[in-house]
Subunit: 199 residues, 2 copies
DNA sequence: AATAATTATTGACCGCGGTCATTTTAGATG
DNA sequence: CATCTAAAATGACCGCGGTCAATAATTATT
C-alpha cells in the first residue's frame, strides 16, 4: 500500500540538489562529479542514484529549472513586433543554453524526451517555448501563409542551428545574434514566392 | 627527424577499423566496446588510443565514411525540381543518421568540429552537404529572395529538427518524411510576405 | 511497546574509457 | 652483422558513472 513520502527523502534530495548547485557555481556543469556532490551532501554514492536515475537526470532537473526561469522572463515581455525584438528577447535564454558546450549537447539530447515514458524538465521547456513563440507569431507583422505553430518550430530549428554554429570551428565568423536575425528574417518575412520565373 | 610511416602502423590501423566495422555490423554502434575491438584486432588497449584520440574519434571516422557514401549517391542525382524530390533524395542519408539514437547524438556533437583545430569527417560531410544543397537550390523553382547558401543552411536546420522530432516522445505522431516536406515547403516556397495587412 | 512490512541508505564492487612508464620492434648507420 | 634510435605496442593502472545485496530507519499493525 502507498505510504506517504518520508521527510527524510525530501531532505536528502534537497541536500543533493543544493550540493550540486554549489559545485556547478564553483566549477561549471561539465566539471561536476557525482562523488563530489554526495561528499558535500554527506550521503553515500548509492543514495544519489536512488534519487536520480543517472547523472544526466540531475542535469536535466537543474538545467531545466534555469531554462524555465528564462522562459518566465520571456513570457512577461510584450509580443515583439520585429525580428530584432525576437532575437533580443531570446538572447538571455540562448546565452545560457550555450554557456558550455557540455550544457548545449545535453540540452539537445534531452530536448525531445529520451524515453517515451518520462518527459523531463528540459523537454517541457521546449514545449513551453514553442507555445510562447506561436502566440507571439500569430499576431505580429509576420508571414501568415503557414500556421503559427509551424512558424514556431522553424524559429526553434533556426535558433538551434545558430547556437550550434557558434560552437563550430568552420563558420565561427559571424556573431550569433546576426546569424539568427538573418535566419529569422528569411523565415518570418519572405519577400517573393518562386524563383526567376513567376509562379 | 621525420621517419616514414611504418607499414606496421597502417596494418594495425586497418585491423582496428576492420574489427570495429565487424563489431558494429553485429551489434550496432552503441554496443561497441573498445576492449572488444582491440581483442578482435589482436592488439593491446593502449594501441587503440595511439591510433584514435578516443572512442568518439573512431566513430567520427566510421560514421563520416558512411555519410560520405550517401553524399556520393546524392551528388550523382540530377537537381530536384520539387520539395518532394528533395525529401526523397535526402532520405537514405537521413535514415542512416537516425538509425540509432547514439549515432544521431554523435553526429550532432561532431557536426561542427569539436575543437578549432581538427575538422573531422562528419563535419566535412555537413560542409559538403551544404554545398550540394546550395547548388540544387540555386537553379530550381525555389524562392530567390535569399542566397542559395542561406537556403541550404535552412534545409539542414529543418532536416535536423525533423530527425530530432522523430526521436521525440512528444510529437512522435507525424512520420518523418511528411514533417520534413511540410518544413521545406514553408521554407523554400513561401506564398505571401506580411501578415493580414499587406506590406 | 513489540513486531512486522516498507522504504531509504550504504559502500564494496563492476564496467569501461582513457593514461603512461616500460618494453619491443623497425629501420637507418657504420 | 651489430648497434643505435625513433616509433609503435604493451598492459597495469586510474577515474568515474552506475549497481546491488545487505543494513538501517521509518511507519503500520497487534
Amino acid at each position: 500500500m502507498n505510504r506517504p513520502i518520508q521527510q527524510r527523502t525530501l531532505k536528502t534530495r534537497a541536500r543533493l540538489l543544493e550540493a550540486a548547485t554549489e559545485v556547478i557555481s564553483e566549477a561549471g556543469y561539465e566539471a561536476l562529479r557525482v562523488e563530489q556532490v554526495v561528499q558535500r551532501a554527506g550521503v553515500a554514492k548509492g543514495t544519489f542514484f536512488a534519487h536520480f536515475r543517472d547523472k544526466d537526470a540531475l542535469m536535466d532537473q537543474l538545467i531545466g529549472a534555469r531554462m524555465d526561469g528564462f522562459l518566465d522572463q520571456i513570457d512577461r515581455l510584450p509580443p515583439p513586433q520585429s525580428v530584432d525584438e525576437i532575437v533580443a528577447a531570446l538572447m538571455p535564454l540562448m546565452s545560457f543554453m550555450t554557456c558550455e558546450r557540455y550544457v548545449f549537447d545535453l540540452i539537445l539530447r534531452y530536448s525531445g524526451a529520451a524515453a517515451r515514458a518520462d518527459i523531463g524538465p528540459i523537454a517541457m521547456t521546449f514545449e513551453r517555448h514553442g507555445q510562447s513563440m506561436a502566440r507571439w507569431l500569430s499576431g505580429g507583422p509576420f508571414r501568415s501563409d503557414v500556421s503559427p505553430a509551424l512558424l514556431a518550430e522553424g524559429v526553434q530549428a533556426f535558433a538551434i542551428q545558430a547556437m550550434a554554429l557558434s560552437f563550430c570551428a568552420l563558420h565561427a565568423d559571424a556573431p550569433f545574434q546576426a546569424r539568427l536575425a538573418e535566419y529569422l528574417r528569411a523565415w518570418l518575412l519572405p519577400v517573393s514566392g518562386g524563383a526567376g520565373s513567376g509562379r
